[in-house]
Amino acid sequence: MGEGAQTKSTLVLHDLPALQAADLLPGDSASFAVFSALPAVHYCMGCFGCWLRTPGTCVLKDRGSEFAGLFSRHENFYVVSRLVFGGLSPDVKAVLDRSIGILLPFFRTTHKEMHHGLRYDKRPDFHYLFYGDATEQEVATARKLVRANMINFEPENYSVDFYGSPQEAVGALP
């Protein structure tokens, strides 16, 4: 972790059980916001309401709709997730699926591929901290997934790291 990260505002999305999170994570402050993926938020219904009804905000009425609004307010975004088949855990994935309002419905071309436009000019750097047992193949898949995500969300910088336990992953936070 670079020293610069210490002074930047940080947003953490994690899937740790409440008691473990209380033990391991600092509380919210002006420069450090924590969003728990537990209890699980409702899954994305694929309605495109976040693009066409209330642009930028999910229309479902639970706390999962609050997450998209946090992105552009922070300089560093950390995802602490159990590695599941080489991807994010279902709980973390549910929050991200509900947050595609940070993108626009309209397409752009980047990396010679079609992708959604970016709603915000200011975007945090992304840091993926995966934890749990992992095969070599799952690690390779996760790297590909992160690269694909980064083409979509287009942060200036990103990183991906793997840890044996949630404690180790949280230990890597600024």
């Binding site: 699980a40 899954y43 994305c44 219904m45 694929g46 495109f48 693009w51 066409l52 009804r53 209330t54 642009p55 930028g56 905000t57 998209a68 609004g69 946090l70 992105f71 552009s72 307010r73 599941v84 088949f85 080489g86 991807g87 994010l88 855990s89 279902p90 709980d91 994935k93 549910a94 991200l96 699926d97 595609i100 626009l104 419905p105 309209f106 397409f107 591929e113 079609m114 992708h115 709603r119 915000y120 095969t135 193949q137 799952e138 898949t141 590909k144 997934l145 694909a148 995500n149 979509n152």
Partner: protein, 208 residues
């Protein structure tokens, strides 16, 4: 042969996944005994019970953030062991569709499914990655823009019926890329208007 199809769209009806499933089923021979489960509407144990002793499990779903929609991922995460025990000989196949033009953008989601199979001792059969998914709900399956999908589903149904294992296949629409993009943008504007919004309002930034 027993085939369990899992619809992984969050939509109860009218999804591209549903249309793909219907087209796929129509291409299977008379010996195929198919059941369609809906991952968003069915409890996990009911899906497992339905899949008992299946020869093939076919997942059909939309790409969400480069991966599997969370409700389907949860089903695989919580029921993977039970599914493997209930249908130990099953081969797993998947059709993933995304709204971008390139079918290849579904490759990571298919890789995640291969990892799922490896975790639970299931055999991976084949994946089909479909681009330009917006076309699927817009025109009939047998029309020119969807001919590549129709043809790919012929081969895919043949592979599933034979229990074949193959390389993943990636396709897109016959529509040129710029036509697909213009049509999609026009559709977004039309839908925005329907919801009482101007095109400019679609760009609003609620987070300051």
């Amino acid at each position: 042969m027993k085939i369990t199809i899992i619809n992984g769209s969050p939509k109860a009806r009218g999804s591209a996944s549903e249309l793909i499933i219907k087209a796929f089923q129509s291409k299977l021979g008379p010996n195929a005994e198919c059941t369609v489960c809906h991952a968003a509407l069915w409890a996990g144990p009911k899906v497992v019970e339905t899949a008992t002793m299946s020869d093939a499990i076919v997942l059909v779903f939309p790409l969400y953030v480069d991966s599997i929609p969370s409700h389907l991922l949860r089903l695989l995460d919580t029921q993977g062991g039970a599914l493997s025990a209930a249908a130990p000989g099953a081969k797993v196949y998947a059709v993933v569709n995304n709204g971008f033009y390139e079918g290849r953008q579904n490759a990571v989601a298919l890789e995640i499914l291969r990892n799922f199979c490896a975790r639970y001792g299931l055999t991976w059969g084949q994946g089909l990655g479909v681009g330009a998914g917006g076309v699927i709900t817009a025109v009939p399956m047998d029309s020119w823009p969807l001919r590549p999908l129709d043809k790919a589903l012929d081969d895919f149904a043949d592979a599933v019926a034979k229990g074949a294992i193959g390389e993943d296949v990636f396709i897109t629409s016959n529509l040129p890329r710029f036509v697909y993009q213009l049509s999609a943008h026009s559709e977004w504007r039309k839908l925005a208007k329907k919801h009482g919004l101007t095109t400019k309002q679609l760009y609003q930034r609620p987070a300051k």
